[in-house]
Symmetry: D3
Subunit: 237 residues, 6 copies
């Protein structure tokens, strides 16, 4: 039995609250159980320097955690004077994942910045960020479409993400913090609405894992992501 009493393939309650922010072109407060992330998408009129003159735009992401989003208060990264390795790693992953479903030619020489700020953390902040970030991005693109800044095909597909792990010898979906702490293997999957893989990251926390373990985790993830994509579709529908 999982500490959370959930079935192995059961997601936590997920909600996607659009338009949470008054200012952003697109925004979504995403909740995976007690993990709450505010995602905002901001449209900027400049593409990064290395893309100037190419006609292409860019989608980037930034990630942060409020100091007391976690059980123990963490030091504020701005006070430390730098973003930690984990932060940089996660925001690079979110950015890659979202870019996988955007036609960068279509958005022109602009940059959309998706900020994912963790209000409360209970495991799975990066997968919630990708899943909710897609909604914010969707709405920012809709905002642009309304103003004639992009055409229809800028957003190519859904993208969503979920974590899986091996807990007590069993593959389980969507680990919360206490499950994650005890999991033997920890994996994150990012997939598109059509089921294509965008990113797979699996890490042995203790003993190494096998090909079969990875297959089992991937099967679970596929099911979870299908559900998340449905929820995204409902949210923006």
């Amino acid at each position: 039995m999982r500490p959370s009493k959930r079935a192995p393939d059961e997601l936590r309650p997920v909600s996607l609250e659009r338009g949470f922010s008054k200012h952003a072109e697109g925004s979504c407060l995403v909740r995976f159980g007690d993990t709450h992330v505010l995602c905002t998408a901001s449209v900027g009129e400049q593409t990064p320097g290395w893309l100037r003159g190419t006609g292409k735009g860019w989608v980037t992401a930034e990630y942060g955690m409020l100091p007391r989003s976690t059980n123990e208060r963490m030091r504020r990264e701005s006070a430390q004077g730098r973003q930690g390795g984990r932060t940089l790693e996660i925001q690079r992953l979110i950015g890659r994942s979202l870019r996988a479903v955007v036609d960068l030619k279509a958005i022109g020489e602009r940059q959309i910045t998706v900020d994912c700020d963790v209000i409360q953390a209970d495991g799975g902040t990066r997968t919630a960020s990708i899943t909710g970030g897609w909604v914010a991005l969707h709405d920012a693109l809709a905002w642009m479409r309304k103003r004639g800044m992009v055409g229809d095909g800028a957003l190519v597909d859904h993208v969503a993400a979920i974590s899986c792990g091996i807990h007590g010898g069993q593959a389980v979906l969507d680990l919360d913090y206490s499950e994650d702490s005890e999991a033997g293997t920890d994996a994150n999957f990012v997939m598109t609405g059509k089921g294509g893989l965008v990113e797979v990251q699996a890490t042995a926390e203790g003993a190494p894992f096998s090909d079969d373990d990875l297959q089992a985790l991937m099967a679970l993830a596929r099911r979870g992501i299908r559900r998340l994509v449905d929820l995204q579709a409902m949210a923006v529908g």
Copy 2:
């Protein structure tokens, strides 16, 4: 007429939502209209170095804004590698204000850190932070009292804050962003529940102001803060 259609002495709708955070010892989501600040109070078992051996504790505050809490996206301070002068100035003010109503001897050699993170900004983030920070601090002290870490008198009084300004020649209370941008004089007042002044900061934005102007602003502030203290009392009552 104020852009916000409010009467000169009318606060925006204020709400103080306690226990917003699952992890913090005390927390409060404070809303002054469209200004939303998440305040968490974290109890740490170490007082700052310069207080060690004195038997005294410390209350400090940190302040931050989410990058898209504002109309235009701001650069993330952690990515810039430093907190700006405005941030440092505000968090020093919040810390001083909260310390004014805490008996530092009573909390022992501990530190309570009040984090004020602006989720959405529309003027008055520092006054909202002080007002909501007091609720978070109150609850953290209650949490400590329940565990026998402090006695009853650690929290000496309420403290709350409000901004005032001269807008279109008239003294008005609790400026939102658009009023603040046009105000000729901008002032922040911090007062205790008993009406004592803790901090007065008044700045001429254009033409200098007179003693009478300052008196008028102070009278408004006094009324507003009395109302905020009532709301605090209801929230924690």
Copy 3:
């Protein structure tokens, strides 16, 4: 009796030594008793980026303390890799105060930087900086006028500043360091030559203060600033 033996409304000996620096367009070594600040005004041919194309210039200030300007040696901010919150707060105050009496349109797209470096500290470094900074600024504008870079009206008025506090139950003017350490309330006032208020900052160090306290401090400040403005006028006359 004040530790300094001064009457409650008595300033320390003040001197304003113009042209202290061989290189700067304007400079002043200001002394408020044992507090000595070197103020230099440097004329730069570029306005900040956000003012380009507006025809307006800018006046900004920077503040620093020599490591052994204080009783205990302080760490050098350049060695620490950042300016502290107090430094940033003070230089923002100096900048705002000086801008209050300059016609930014008149100086064209240039920037005047007033550096206030504390050679020796004994309380009141920010008020000395504003008072002496005005002299340096005056002389830099005179230097510009001589070269036809500005007309006559660029400097609109005097601006000067003084601290007040409540010491031993009595309102006193121009606190030195030992008085400041014991003062119950600490306030800084910035006023123009015509007596308009530019900035009021009052902070309760221990018990809160009352409206009457603030009034008493303001009355003292008004007298002191009138005297400082006279000294400025003599210095540049």
Copy 4:
């Protein structure tokens, strides 16, 4: 045909030159074709703070690239004042990979730091770092064993890593820089000598990939890593 003319499952020439450094307790210059990484393992007599008193040690890694290890000169990270996200991500991966095969209890409260410095880069620097880092680590542990600092079982298994990708529609092993730039999917696998998976990271560079793609890449990687483990065994044999 691959640009490198290699068969799809063909590694570049690999060499592992032990004892390259006169000073380090263990060292290895690893070459995967034109990718050359100097790995040194340094034994320190202190475990990180959060492990003190647990009897456990730590293995950590740091990664860097010489400024002209790449085709275009890169800015030196020490001159920029921070390590980039890619650097931090890679050194975290190397550290996790090496820890997977070390009994941290066995090394006592010490830290072994494996520095991986890229002398010349041509793709696959992180996989070469892990593969060569294991040799350096092996020799540092042997050095410790000779001095009675650890027993025999501290090093539990081999660990090695290889990249794979889909190039021109075909799964290929050990991509060099020019292949990597054109690859549609890019994956890194870390496995132990016994064939257990330690880390899988697969990223779609353009179109998403399928489960079958991942299986094909994993099969290739398995073959390549078996070969690398043989080379490690020969090197330290």
Copy 5:
């Protein structure tokens, strides 16, 4: 003829004003013509970590320039977030020079920090710093002797420094800024009161120089330093 009209072996007017600072244990405002440096010596009760337990103390120096000490305003190093290479190089030189004449055993496990802050620069700031720093150090040691913290022999000798250069084909002493800008070779010499060399640094600015050139510069420097040592002796006599 030198631009300064001085004879080739003529120093600028030099003054050493002791006790310039109210707070420091030793201080000296040194003037080499228009180069003015405030030197303060601060006695700290802790030796650096790597000397703890050795019974030895340390003498270190820090160097800074006020932003408008120079003809063009320089950016403040604290605002830039780091000390430049020139600053670090100079303060290392000053520290080494002063340590050469102090018995570090005699001062016990303490650190004396000599801060050299350039109030106004006109060439030769490092040589003025060493020369004036010695006076500040002398007085700090006298302060310690008075309190029984050191015995008589802590200060072993004088140390002073001067620059020389080849200007218009001729070796000249104590270059001011305009001479320094045109000098073909630039050298700094540090010598003790007994005439021993502590440091020689000579740099070709344009064409290389010869052994004879260096000899000529050294002879001039020897004469200049003898004079500076006399002035030091008078100052502290």
Copy 6:
């Protein structure tokens, strides 16, 4: 007898391995005994800002040490967030030395960056860097000449460097680390192929040194550098 058993005027075995790097326009692995430095010269198409429009180019150097190039592992400067004073001092010296033999007009508005990275350190890293850096620079200029980017006279002469010291009362050439630690005086000389002096730096480590000492060191250095210049000529011949 020297610890290294070398004659007083005997260099360590020196080798200059050209073309060590696949990517750089010029490169050289220089070995002075166990001191190994990789020098690469990178041609950039932009001169520094302050030279734009002058038609002149620039040669600059950067210096770094791998963390375990030394006997004790050093902290990585990129992880510390800044380059230390010693690093900055050395790279400034290398840059000045190389510029002394380049006609900056001839290379046009370009910058050549010579990176000197210490792979293994055993004393004399700065002198090895200058000596090997010249070879890398030579080859980068040859690369430019082949492409018609410079004419023949861009490289005016050789430049090389060597350390000397007084060890056990005797002047000795090319100190290794253990000799350097015990040396009473430590000097570095930089000379051109024609024997002109570019830089002399001599430092008393304990007792001051005399003019005669300096002369003796210089004579040794002259002999050593003549030999290094021969080796350079052979390497590029």
